[in-house]
Amino acid sequence: MNEPLLAAQDVSRRFGYRQIFSNVTLTLEPGEVLALVGPNGAGKTTLLRVLAGLLKPTTGSVRRNGTIGLVAHHSMGYDALTARENLAFAARLWGVSETGRIDLLLDRLGLSKWGEMRTAAFSRGMIQRLAIARALVHDPGILLLDEPLNNLDEPGAEVVLQVIDELAERGRAIVVVTHQFERIAAIATSVGYLVGGSLEGPEPIDGRAAEVVSHKYRSLLAGG
């Protein structure tokens, strides 16, 4: 059996007196794509930040057997730099060779034409594509995506879904926080419901239709 790339054990996080979530346990094997769904304010982003190591869990532990690539709500880039310069800066911090890698990512995310443009002039969709390229610059073992399809047009969303699928096939572990489960259903291998401060699942999707997952999600929201 493969070693899990990501394992969270009884993870809880609190901000002051506010308990965001508690006793979250999950493991991600190579090739697994976990769709994480939950209502606004459920703590999905906080959980992602804990999994990424940007936030310490209040209790519990997170073990990572690979580098992290994170797509968050913000681009993590600099408006005054071009798309290429932003990726080059990230590559330098990760200690990876920029040669070829940046061109490849710009091309894959459909940004080749705008590589030399300062990102201050980018649309939100272009910023989102760049954020995904940035997260992939070091070819991470674990990819954490917070609403990766936000602001993307249809072709852009298709490209991102293809990229996620390809990465999973190459043995990367991926967590996708989403409100658009129907879009992720085709590539997700498991689903977790973060509702009321606890995680239901993750459970395998096993070819179930998106409607089944949506039905269960609605039922959890209703407290059923």
């Binding site: 990424a52 681009s75 880039g77 600099y78 408006d79 730099l81 990230a90 911090l93």
Partner: protein
Amino acid sequence: MPVADYARVVWAIIAKDAMVEWRTKTAFLSAMVFAILVLSILFFARDPTAVSSLDVAPGALWVTFTFAAMVGLNRAFLLERENGAMDGMLLTPIPRTAIFVGKMGGNLLFVALVEAISIPLFILFYNVSLAGRLPQLILVTAMATVAFVAVGTLLSAMVVRTRFAELMLPVLLLPFLIPPVVSAVQVTARILAGRPLSEMMPWLKLLAGFDIVFCVLTVLLFEATLDE
């Protein structure tokens, strides 16, 4: 991390900050306008029949440097907060101290540039002769700048997540600047008066002490500013 890799990361951060500032020029232009204003206001505020320019020049120079530098220090970590860029750095395996040293290096470059342009203006306004004494002034400027940029960079990282970061920085920073700036003013006054180096040595030793203590402490404390 090997020293060469550490230096490469530090340089990448400095180069990135320099490039951003070169493109936007927001902090630099603000700092220069501020420096020119302070130098001219303090010059015209004195009564030339009662107070010689040499008496007010050292204080004027260091008030200018200190407050102009604060504009850049304020900007240092705001840049990393915009778009969550700091998270992008924290995800990488680079040592946290490399982030601090890189940001401090960028701030030093910024402040050094502001000072390099302010000194000729200072000479022009206050009609001081620095013939043969410019290296001494550069030395004391460099020593004091290292001290206040080290503390300023740390406090900038600390206050960046507060609601009034740009107001908080001067409030927190100024008390820490009193010892190095007072030392720098004392040395500058003696340089402008043409006093021998031996008279400046106690103040220079004090400044060197501040440099060492401030640099070591700020590097060690930086990681604590990153905890949410």
